[in-house]
């Protein structure tokens, strides 16, 4: 995505000279580490920062003195940055960068937790992990919908609308039928309805795909909001009281400390989301369908020459994307909340950000979604312990990170070559 538009100042230029991308990242990380060691170290108190392995204050816990922890992790981050700056083999880049950023976050947490008021200066890791996954769930489904669409060359800005329509039809038909499964199917169809519109207009009528996505989002907001006010608000018992999936505990796995209670006592959507990441990853990179999808997304003419039905494949992928996103929308209304107007509230756009941040790959999207979910969860947690950091700035984090990513600071981000370009045979 980033390089095509303005070739005269292409991002590939950063590989020239001393200031390679690795060194730039190293310098930034070094600065962050020093900042963490000095600033967070000074602000942290000498109290113990407790990271408990449960949902409450009690039980086993990792403990560290706040000041020492903040300085220690800050120094680790700075060291990772310094190593990158000094020049290390390329294969260590991701590892060192990741370790450095994690250390930076830990330093920050040591400060925040130790500075929290007495009685609240602990961090229940089970809650944090579980909350991260719950908040990341719609992002995972949404980003996977984006992967399916964009890998075959159709830009999907309508993720928001697909999630919203899924949530709405899940709630509506789940309530009317009284069955979660009917709701789930209806949610998938609802999402697919929006993506069918996207497919028809983008592929058949060659409408600009970004324009169409934006307009479809507004359409979804309008239609669901309208029907919500007309039906659900007047008769909530009949139209907006969908049954919910109960939590399924997975035997054996649920007893693993930390991960067990956080991950293996969840609802169907959590398992489905993680499973889908795996399935789509394997399908995309190991099957004939995946090879065809990727080739259509990169060079549809070549694929067509080899006998791939480009338009049919695009239709199929876009509609599958809608099914996935629709299920993601249902993860709200069939598990957590009843439907409210515009309840997705921008999650679709964070999913788009996760897709880009994860470089159009299912696993990358999963990691990005978890990172964004963690930022979200952290904002909630810091609010609960009365932190001095305004939650609004933490909420900005995913968006700022995405801007940095596409600006080429975190690495080169490149969309499938034919993404957004309509294909006309001939």
């Amino acid at each position: 995505m980033s390089t095509t538009a303005v070739p005269e100042v292409a991002v590939t230029a950063v590989d020239e000279g001393f200031w390679t991308r690795t060194r730039k990242a190293g310098a930034v990380l070094l600065a962050l580490g020093v900042l963490a060691a000095v600033l967070f170290g000074a602000l942290a108190t000498g109290q113990q920062a407790r990271f408990t392995l449960s949902e409450t204050e009690g039980g086993a816990a990792l403990e560290i003195n706040g000041t020492i922890g903040a300085i220690l992790f800050g120094v680790i981050a700075a060291a990772a940055g310094a190593a990158l700056l000094a020049g290390v083999p390329k294969r260590w880049f991701t590892l060192l960068l990741g370790a450095g950023l994690v250390a930076f976050v830990l330093s920050f947490l040591c400060w925040q937790v130790s500075a929290a008021p007495e009685g609240r200066n602990f961090m229940p890791l089970v809650n944090v992990v579980r909350g991260t996954f719950i908040l990341a769930l719609p992002l995972i489904f949404g980003a996977l919908a984006g992967v399916l669409c964009e890998r075959s060359g159709v830009v999907n800005v309508a993720i928001e609308g697909q999630l919203l329509m899924g949530a709405f039809s899940g709630a509506l038909f789940g309530s009317i039928s009284g069955s979660v499964w009917v709701g789930l199917v209806a949610a998938a169809i609802g999402g697919a309805f929006i993506s069918l519109l996207l497919a028809v207009f983008a592929i058949r009528y060659l409408v600009d795909q970004v324009v169409m996505g934006i307009v479809l989002n507004l359409l979804a907001v309008g239609v669901t909001g309208f029907l919500y006010e007309r039906l659900m608000q007047t008769d909530a018992a009949k139209y907006n009281s969908a049954p919910r999936f109960s939590n399924w505990e997975i035997p054996l796995l649920k007893d693993i400390p930390l991960i067990g209670p956080a991950l293996f006592r969840g609802n169907i959507f959590l398992y489905l989301g993680l499973l889908l990441v795996l399935v789509i990853h394997l399908a995309l990179f190991r099957t004939r369908w995946g090879l065809r999808t990727r080739s259509v997304g990169e060079h549809p003419t070549a694929a067509d020459t080899l006998g791939v039905k480009v338009l049919r494949l695009r239709y199929r992928n876009v509609i599958m994307a809608g099914l996935v996103a629709g299920v993601g929308g249902a993860s709200y209304t069939l598990a957590l909340y009843s439907f409210t107007k515009n309840m997705i509230g921008g999650k679709g756009f964070i999913a788009l950000a996760a897709l880009i941040f994860g470089r159009w790959s299912p696993t990358g999207a999963l990691l990005a979604a978890l990172f964004f979910g963690f930022a979200d969860q952290l904002a909630t947690y810091l609010g609960a312990i009365g932190s001095s950091i305004p939650s609004q700035f933490l909420a900005m984090l995913p968006y700022l990170a995405t801007i940095l990513a596409v600006a080429g600071l975190v690495g080169k981000v490149r969309a499938p070559a034919a993404d957004g370009k309509p294909y006309i045979k001939g």
Partner: protein, 452 residues
């Protein structure tokens, strides 16, 4: 349009020039198909053709073009289609009307009457709230709907121009919402924090809002120019950054209204308010005049100025523009900053006008996103944007009345707006539905079709 490969075309994509387009309606070249002469006969409403004239008459041309896929016809039919879909939504969401459909085979008149009643009443209220209420008595009541329409129109003109200008420069500005948000923040803060005399205060507040928007447009512009980062992604992200910034700044000391516990800022001083045009009882304010002025200026900028020429050249084909010696990067930055400036003015309108006088989390409503629709509906041309904004303003004003009188949720207006633009964006669909003839000179394709 920036795509060098001509693959983006709909059947209507013939690259007609500006001038052709403007004339397309009235003066299509005199080669109308001969088979259409019968159609001329019922032309009682239009001028009769002068006998013996070699050129087809105005009336014939009018009829020929009436059912052709030109801009006006497609727009009107798109509105009609959208209202039909809206009517279906009204019917299926009304349990009482729906009940009459359960025995439609026995007494079809019941279902049809009930449907007609609920739909016609809703749309009648839409009309009465937007344009004219026949039952109104007195100046305020008669002018009320128009005043409301113009009040809602003004900010949409600015955001629509913002998106349209960027489109012409080959950029898709989804960030009008964020730019308007930053604009409204700065305009409001300048409006209540600075002790200035009337007039100067208003000017300063407007400039502050414009600069805020310009800054928020400059960021994606410079990122696009320097790193190639796609403006669509960055403007989407900056929208959310702006929203969170707004929700943060409202509750800061010195900004939040000290008398209120909820998230609302101090009110803007009356010295920084745009004057009302038709007395204190009607909400229409000078923002609409500024909007017309801005439309004129942008039309001049695009069509008459060097910058406008460069901007259009870059928008049509950046490679060719670069070869011709135009700095593409500089143009991108200028386009985005100017687009942001316009959106910032639109945001300022929301708090300096009569819609609100203090910051709240929802102070600018949807004007940025609606601006995208307005720009597309206006075929990304300045005066077209003004007309499209008028239509959207009217829908908004009428929607309010529809909600309070007929109980039809205001969301229906959002649906109508989105549907109109969907049909506009796919003229081939409208053409197919109504069996329109191909127009001689009409570019209906607003598509950029360039991908990430």
């Amino acid at each position: 349009m920036t795509n060098p490969n001509p693959v983006s075309g709909s059947p209507d994509k013939e690259p007609a020039t500006e001038a052709q387009e403007a004339r397309g309606e009235a003066r299509a070249t005199p080669t109308a198909p001969a088979g259409d002469t019968e159609r001329q006969v019922p032309a009682t409403a239009t001028k009769q053709p002068a006998a013996g004239e070699p050129r087809p008459s105005l009336g014939k041309l009018f009829l020929d073009n009436l059912w052709a896929a030109n801009t006006v016809t497609v727009t009107v039919l798109a509105v009609v289609l959208a209202m039909l879909v809206g009517a279906v939504l009204i019917i299926v969401s009304d349990p009482e009307v729906l009940a009459t459909y359960s025995y439609i085979t026995a007494r079809p008149a019941d279902a049809l009457n009930a449907s007609w009643t609920v739909v016609s009443e809703a749309y009648a209220n839409l009309f009465k709230g937007a344009i004219f209420d026949p039952d109104a008595v007195g100046f305020t009541a008669v002018m009320g709907p128009i005043s409301e329409t113009l009040t809602y129109t003004a900010p949409l003109v600015f955001t629509g121009l913002s998106v349209a200008l960027a489109f012409r420069g080959g950029l898709f500005n989804i960030g009008a919402q964020g730019q308007a948000t930053i604009g409204v923040i700065l305009a409001a803060v300048a409006g209540f924090a600075l002790p200035l005399p009337p007039g100067v205060h208003l000017l300063v507040a407007l400039i502050a809002g414009a600069l805020g928007g310009a800054l928020w447009g400059f960021i994606p512009g410079i990122l696009k120019a320097r790193t190639g980062a796609h403006e669509v992604i960055n403007t989407i992200m900056l929208n959310y950054v702006a929203i969170y910034f707004l929700s943060w700044i409202i509750i800061q000391g010195g900004v939040q209204n000290p008398d209120r516990a909820d998230a609302i800022s101090k009110p803007v001083d009356s010295s920084a308010q745009l004057p009302r045009l038709l007395g204190d009882n009607l909400r229409v304010h000078a923002g609409i005049l500024l909007a017309v002025l801005a439309t004129w200026f942008i039309a001049w900028l695009l069509n008459r100025s060097t910058l406008g020429f460069e901007l259009r050249a870059v928008g049509e084909n950046p490679d060719a523009a670069r070869t011709a010696g135009i700095s593409v990067t500089k143009t991108y930055v200028l386009v985005m900053a100017t687009a942001g400036l316009l959106a910032g003015l639109g945001g300022s309108n929301m708090v300096l006008g009569s819609t609100a006088n203090a910051l709240t989390p929802l102070v600018i409503a949807q004007i940025g996103f609606d601006g995208i629709l307005v720009a597309l509906l206006g075929r990304v041309r300045p005066w077209g944007v003004l007309l499209a904004a008028l239509l959207f303003g009217a829908l908004q004003a009428g929607g309010n009345r529809m909600q309070s009188y007929s109980g039809i949720s205001l969301e229906l207006v959002t649906v109508l707006q989105a549907l109109i633009v969907i049909f506009i964006a796919a003229p081939a669909l409208v053409k197919a539905i109504f069996q329109l003839r191909a127009a001689r000179a009409a570019r209906l394709q607003t598509s950029l079709a360039k991908g990430w």
